[in-house]
Symmetry: C2
Amino acid sequence: MKLDDLPTPCVVLDRRILQANLDRMAQAVSRLGVALRPHMKTAKSFDVARMALAGAPARGGITVSTLAEAEYFAGHGITDILYAVGITPRKLDQVATLNAAGASITVITDDPATASAIAAHPARPRTLIEIDCGEARGGIAADDPALTEIARRLGGCLHGVLTHAGHSYSGRSVDDMRRIAEAERLAAVTAAERLRAAGYACPVVSVGSSPTALHAASLEGATETRPGVYMFGDLFQAEIGTVPADGIAVTVLASVIGRRAAEGRILVDAGAMALSKDRSTEAAPHDFAFGLALDLLGRRGYGHSLVRRANQEHGIIDLDPATPVSGFAIGDKLRIAPNHACLTAAAHDRYFVVDGDDTVVAVWPRINGW
Amino acid sequence: MKLDDLPTPCVVLDRRILQANLDRMAQAVSRLGVALRPHMKTAKSFDVARMALAGAPARGGITVSTLAEAEYFAGHGITDILYAVGITPRKLDQVATLNAAGASITVITDDPATASAIAAHPARPRTLIEIDCGEARGGIAADDPALTEIARRLGGCLHGVLTHAGHSYSGRSVDDMRRIAEAERLAAVTAAERLRAAGYACPVVSVGSSPTALHAASLEGATETRPGVYMFGDLFQAEIGTVPADGIAVTVLASVIGRRAAEGRILVDAGAMALSKDRSTEAAPHDFAFGLALDLLGRRGYGHSLVRRANQEHGIIDLDPATPVSGFAIGDKLRIAPNHACLTAAAHDRYFVVDGDDTVVAVWPRINGW
């Protein structure tokens, strides 16, 4: 089957690019001497997880962003799972069910009352204390007095600390990423040392985002890193150097459904639903609006042709002046590189896999929802 | 079952508000003397369609934005379906399959070559010619010479004309909406009269968006209108007067997963995945960032508390100064009114239905994807 035969819109995954992205990260993490616990929030696919875990420093465990992912991957035999979003007491019941079925779900918290609820719950999951390293999202500061109080309340459930430098996405140079990676490392290691000084074991020191995992000068004291979006890449990650410009593994396949010669514009059947409304590149050096049009082989064959508007099922592409509307007929297919792979992929329930060309070699399902 | 018992994030649909929104539109359309062909792109639910079609001027037909919707609704016995996105020749096969199974799918085109493909295809669906009334998306101008050429090529498939004033979303007053509604009406009626003058029958003259259907002074010459988002409403539609401030029927139920007292901030488990990255209200009189926090009963109990950041699974709510962080515990539930109901609802596969309070009275599935 060829891409041209597929119903549109749908998502194409280029396995050759994916493998190159995995290799680049495996090499970086290997150099840093920590374990890779890939974050499956972007791919949400067992087939992709299998490839990501084949990299040298992987220890077999993954990270997830929802309990639906945890259930899906556990059902496929990946049992060592870190659920890296702050747990609520009510969600412990589902963790208990998964653990009773053979999974080993690790949870995170930054809240003393929740720590008590974890210790009292029959699930008694391994728990990491979430540390804030500057993102100002989840986590307490490494020097917060609550750290040892949470540890005390967790008792035997305490398994280590975790932090996430999500603000690495605001970095614009390798130096920026190194600085943020060092802040991330330092926050986690400082918290771990405080716990150890207070008499608590702290076997896991978990850090990571794609940019900091790739660019860190050292992760000394950390035990694992949790990058995710590096697998697929997207226009934003290419802008900040996580993947090269030709390192975007997921694209949306679309059909031309309208032509406006006077405005140098074509319409495609990939709009806000198929692409998402993500505008990450608005803050990047180059703004790609809602996506960059590529040809059927995924090449930059149409210059700087961008999806300028994204209505529900209409993508409105303003063509590069060197690309005439007359080159497109209704029904012609093209591909669109997305701003943000995590959100774009989430609109679809499967990947049509290619190996660098337009032949579909596999169809891989993915898990969505909660 | 109470909302507080549901796993989060999920979508709550308030049937009482939905009914009020349906009643308001039924009244407007009844006054205008046209048929209501509700657009199911927002709700994508048979249960909602049943309610929307119960309004006085409905003739039993609906509008859809994907062929997946067409298949779903036809499977539930709603057979008179207008697929209001430009058709491609390849998609006619699926239309033929649906029509052979008892549906009557009407398609649209603005392209002569596609018109020939429609007339030559065994599906031979009823076809409307798409007219542009100022949105600059799909459609040809009402005075475009191609109009009669497309009609000639369609032959017996020609069934009328259709236009869509999507630019009514840029209106900010009832006067604006009236002006745009009149341009919409005039474009469709002018095209229909040109066709009739050239000897073609043109039984259907289809117009409509929620704002123009509600506010049009007259739809003389039009036969039907196709509003959709009026059913649910959202923060943006409330800003432009389609629904009142308390007329937003869909909200996202979320749990508190983090607290940052120093910053007056809480984290919830509804982020970009559960809310979408839509920022429609950025261009409205009041900007609600990624959503407005409401209490468990859907009331504005937290003042102007907005979802300021939407990471993948984290919503970061900056609380109104009068709402202290100490009022929230981890696991507490609240609701979030979305910017754009179509995109937010699309992240979820079912509605938890309430009647103005926090008791779940039904669970209604919805159809997503393509």
